[in-house]
Symmetry: C2
Subunit: 211 residues, 2 copies
């Protein structure tokens, strides 16, 4: 993957680099297909200065917001194009004690083969989501943890709501799905990652591909 | 998974606990199917004392060697029984700077979907093995790294030996395969894990299974 972002703003290289790091961490570094990396995955930002509009701070919203919008779109297209992918899945983790914990839980859930196959099968399996969060190493309080599929709460403060499984399964039938897991620590840190479902076609493509 | 080991040796609980920890780290904690854990995975050891043979040290080979043999057999049977598994794969990492690095690289390789699908497809894809070791976070020196499939070296000190691909593919046709990756640091630490290949059947089983 090689990504290029261009702007006609006037931005010093150091400021643009800082902005790109901030943007990449919330876009290209927040996606996964199978957890694998390519040695040449790289994203660049270039500023021509042609507009004459000077940007002095890396977090100036005039710079950062359009960068996140473009990079986020490109990053999500990578996930949509994942081998055998049929769904774009947004994994949102809330209620984490720290940013590091939020990312750890989000990354573990987003790479979990059992979560990804359940979503492929349209199964609102809160148990696999809770198990992935629990084994991630992030602080996790089961009695206060919650899981929603789209806006359907299937597990609330440690209690399963399996009567809502049909409504949650209906959400999972869509090509784009958001899953929210609250770690129940009472913390306010959160993280959002994008992943895809895991299909038999993934295995076929990667087992039959020869170097 | 619930595992039980019994012995008729006379062993104090503290010593047996220490022995079990040592054994579990090299057997039950050294296997993976898909990186997922069950909340009730647990292994117990019980000593009756019936033989009258006293064991005072946790590393007494009369205790530890048969425990490793039995626990290792049970652990590998779990991998063989993994969803959709057709092969038992031994991942051996050598040339690591530290034990922690050796385990980190072995675990990353053993859980890599691209490695596991390549092995399923019978593809001696050294690039995926090297890429998994490289992204693991362990110290890794590409120019000195090597990969063997069984006893066929397919990548030696940073140089691909693709003329050996047919011989390596023949090794991969067997139901039990050993893959060795040397991290090339010149270190002497090593680690051995057991995993299985990744088949379309894995996806079918886990996508269609409903809670």
């Amino acid at each position: 993957m090689l990504g290029y972002l261009t702007t006609d703003a006037v931005v010093e290289p150091g400021v643009l680099q800082q902005a790109l790091r901030h943007v990449a961490d919330r876009t290209f570094n927040a996606i996964t297909v199978d957890g694998e990396c390519s040695t040449n995955d790289c994203v660049f930002a270039l500023a021509s200065g042609a507009s004459g509009v000077a940007i002095a701070r890396h977090d100036d919203p005039r710079l950062i917001e359009p960068m996140i919008a473009v990079a986020g779109h490109l990053a999500r297209e990578i996930v949509r194009g994942g081998e055998g992918a049929t769904k774009l899945v947004t994994i949102r983790v809330t209620g984490a004690r720290s940013d590091a914990d939020a990312w750890l839980a989000a990354r573990t859930i987003a790479n979990s083969p059992l979560v990804k196959t359940a979503i492929h099968g349209g199964d609102p399996n809160w148990g696999r989501l809770v198990a992935a969060a629990g084994r991630s190493g992030a602080d996790f309080v089961l009695d206060r943890a919650s899981v929603s599929i789209g806006d359907v709460p299937v597990f609330v403060a440690g209690v399963p709501h399996d009567d809502r499984a049909p409504a949650a399964a209906a959400v999972l039938a869509h090509p784009a799905v958001t899953v929210t897991v609250d770690l129940g620590t009472g913390g306010t840190a959160d993280a959002t990652m994008w992943t895809c479902d895991f299909s038999a076609e993934y295995v076929r493509i990667n087992a039959e591909y020869r170097t």
